[in-house]
């Protein structure tokens, strides 16, 4: 391309391009001879990592900084959440505070396709699910006329249901970090049905081949379920069993969350 006919209206790539090298993951079957590809047992969760306060802006601790934030990892899932408030909102209910949630996949977060930066219908739907799962745990009547906002960004996702439940855990940690009054910490866990066997905390490959996925979010010390979502067909007794197992897993997630929060209170980050 000669210089005088250079097209300035478009992004011009280099004249020569090289195809990127792909790592060949092969055609990994998620379930081979009864076990899982990553070697976990059927009810084993992926390891969890939490950190509160990663988004507190330092040193300029400014009024625009979130009042609480959290970063959460579960296997390959990486989520960050910022909580603002309680603060003055545009809509104000004189009796109760309002809780709003915003959920967004980062453009590079889903390995199978690039996400547009404009929110899709599924992101809005998940935001609504998160709102409904978290709202019962927040003491909104303690914050009349105020507004609490949570902004969730998925940095890497691995399994839709697992990502939603990880997002719930992440919001819980961020709300607790912000010092917002809660009835309980909400812990969530997902499950999928594969060959009439329930498998906990499935990743994308495992969810893809499953006939049914569900997640349960729970307030373990209050012993209440705040949200239950199932996609796919099962027999009623199968769902019963799954909810039972999920509840147990939630208790384990809860233990991790509360142990972390206690430790972070004793040793405030500098």
């Amino acid at each position: 391309m000669s210089a005088n006919i250079f097209d300035r209206r478009r992004v011009n790539g280099p004249p020569r391009s090289v195809e990127p090298l792909y790592t060949d993951e092969g055609d990994v079957k998620p379930f081979t001879n009864g076990g899982r590809a990553d070697g976990r047992s059927l009810d084993q969760l992926r390891p969890i990592f939490i950190k509160t306060g990663p988004l507190a802006v330092q040193p300029t601790f400014s009024p625009t900084a979130p009042s609480g934030s959290a970063y959460y990892e579960q296997g390959k899932i990486r989520i960050s959440c910022a909580v603002y408030g309680p603060r003055q909102g545009r809509k104000s209910n004189p009796r109760m505070g309002s809780f709003d949630c915003d959920f967004q996949y980062a453009p590079f977060s889903c390995s199978w396709k690039r996400r547009p930066h404009i929110k899709g219908a599924d992101e809005k739907e998940i935001a609504l699910i998160l709102e409904q799962a978290m709202a019962p745990a927040i003491r909104l009547e303690a914050y009349p006329k105020a507004c609490i906002d949570a902004f969730v960004t998925v940095i890497e996702s691995d399994g839709k249901f697992a990502t939603i439940s990880a997002a719930i855990n992440c919001i819980s940690a961020a709300l607790a970090d912000a010092g917002i009054e809660l009835y309980d910490i909400v812990a969530a866990c997902s499950m999928s049905l594969n060959a009439s066997q329930w498998v906990s905390d499935c990743n994308q490959a495992e969810e893809d081949v499953s006939q049914c996925s569900l997640f349960v979010s729970r307030m373990p010390s209050a012993d209440e379920i705040t949200y239950l979502l199932q996609q796919g067909k099962t027999m009623p007794d199968q769902t019963d069993r799954a909810v039972q197992t999920c509840s147990n897993s939630c208790a384990r997630v809860y233990a991790v969350l509360s142990r972390y929060l206690q430790a972070s209170m004793e040793q405030p980050a500098s």
Binding site: P59, P86, P94, K145, E181, D184, S258, M265, P268, S270
Partner: protein
């Protein structure tokens, strides 16, 4: 004092770290305070923090909390909206505070009736984004704070820089306006907003009442700017390392910081070193 004759279980209530939803006590003798909620006879924690007990009142103090105002508090706020006969002020609280036109001093004539022309030129007193130094006068029915600036020491802030800290680090004290020996004025708002500015003698403002609502900075020399920046950084580091912020702690931090350049004060090692220094000096003093 039946409180002293309690079982082992209830005596270790205090100074325990709890998370939301954890049981604090089943004993009906206790009353629930802030940061807790009760269901039937059990008291649960609603925030993550340390349990505190004063006689029979059990409360949980979180690490971070938003400012909740009390009448008489001296605060710093930022105007967010000019409404009819009032300004909305961000006071780092759950709701915006409100500053009524009738609770400010108008230039010229302390007790002048507020006329319609004052309503029309409200922006000449306070415009959006201005910082105000005010006192909490009362609450509105919905819990919003009503502020007033009816004293010459209150009013618009200028000639300086703004610092935000955790509100619980600023204790309520007799005076919240200090002139430090290094020639810097500080306003310690109990809502966690702090203003650090060049020292301007009060007599100068009293002489010329037009200065109360002035938007213009006075001339600030490079040395003064550096001192202001140093004080601001000292407050930042005290906040970061969770040290009480009072005029004494700021002076201690300032004196200890003089051996370092202003820009290095917030590096981790120096900050920890200085904060430790301030803590030991504060302990020696008390």
């Amino acid at each position: 004092m039946d409180v002293d004759m309690e079982s082992q279980d209830t005596r270790d209530i205090a100074s325990r770290i709890v998370t939301p939803g954890s049981v604090i006590t089943n004993d009906t003798a206790f009353m629930r305070g802030h940061g807790t909620f009760a269901e039937r006879t059990t008291i649960y924690s609603s925030v993550a923090g340390a349990v505190e007990r004063i006689n029979k009142l059990v409360s949980v103090r979180p690490l971070k909390q938003r400012y909740s105002g009390e009448i008489g508090d001296i605060i710093v706020g930022r105007i967010t909206e000019v409404a009819s006969k009032r300004w909305r002020v961000d006071v780092n609280s759950r709701q915006d505070g409100i500053l009524l036109l009738s609770s400010i001093n108008l230039p010229g004539g302390i007790q002048r009736r507020k006329s319609e022309s004052d309503e029309l030129q409200m922006r000449t007193f306070f415009a959006e984004g201005d910082l105000v130094f005010a006192e909490v006068q009362s609450y509105f029915a919905d819990g919003a704070l009503s502020l007033h600036t009816r004293s010459l020491q209150y009013g618009k802030l200028r000639n300086g820089t703004f610092v935000t800290v955790f509100p619980q680090l600023v204790p309520r004290s007799r005076s919240h306006f200090h002139t430090l020996p290094c020639g810097v004025d500080i306003v310690l708002g109990v809502n966690g907003y702090i203003w650090v500015s060049k020292h301007v003698p009060a007599s100068k403002v009293e002489e010329n009442s037009e200065l109360i609502y002035s938007d213009k900075n006075e001339f600030i020399s490079d040395d003064e700017r550096e001192t202001i920046a140093r004080i601001a950084n000292c407050i930042h580091l005290l906040n970061r390392l969770y040290v009480k912020i009072t005029d004494t702690s700021i002076i201690f931090a300032y004196e200890a910081s003089l051996t370092h350049a202003v820009k290095d004060l917030l590096t981790r090692e120096i900050a920890i070193d200085l904060a430790h220094n301030v803590k030991t000096r504060l302990e020696q003093q008390s």
